[in-house]
Amino acid sequence: MFEAVAFYLFAFLTIAMFYIVVTTKQALYALTALAAGMIFISAFFFILGADFLGAIQIIVYTGAVMALYAFGMMFFDTTRDVKEKQGNKYIIVGLSTLAAVLIVLIVSVPMVSDNIVALYPVADDIGNVQSVGLVLFTKYLIPFEVAAIMLLVAMVAGIVLAGKKMDLSLTLMSGEEIEDMKKEKNKKVLS
């Protein structure tokens, strides 16, 4: 009973948060709603017994990713609103609904779910973190290492891309300076 209440509560909250993310016009609202949605999602993980995943979800998403977005937004002039002139709303919603229905159809077909056999059963006597560690560092060791390298590459890429011209601040520069810079930039082919 408790589980059902929790599920519906958090489901409602998550959907609401994400709905705000995709509909709001304020980037800041969207950011906040997204962070909240992430935290609510971690609740599902706790309900499902994946404690470690839930912790990671909060740390990585809410801690790292959202912070990254927040810092990223500082570079942009978020006060200048991007015009949301969308085309046909029905097409967008229709397509999404259709995709959702089809996915539900596929996963609910017994053919798929009948054939699943547990490869790495959850051990009852040890905790979730311990069993995750066992599997992650045995069977999934190489993907884990690869993921680590990928993260390193992404970090380097992020620094290189965003770090150029760090000494200049668009927000602190006057309009003329920005214009001059633009002209100068247009001369050289920019990287």
């Binding site: 993310v21 949605g37 994946a50 959850v122 069977k139 993907p143 992020g158």
Partner: protein
Amino acid sequence: MEIGLNHYLVLSTILFAIGLVGVMKRKNLLLLFFATEILLNAVNIAFAAISHYYGDLTGQMFAFFVIAIAASEVAVGLGLLIVWFKRHGTIDLDLMTSMKG
């Protein structure tokens, strides 16, 4: 009332659909990134749920990797976004037409 796997899957699908709407609707590149985060999280829920209901840790493993990928994507994507903004002073999708043939 028992909560089964299908409940989670339906929830996951709904979130995914919301993400899709965001992807198609948003013109602000930053908000587009938010929408992709929603998509990834929707999938993560499904993975975790399947992992739980079949007693198999593989689903959780994949969720981890998805999170890793999402983190790298944000890092690189944001970097590109900043570069773009520095060059063009805007992050409006409709103005990104340099790929037009």
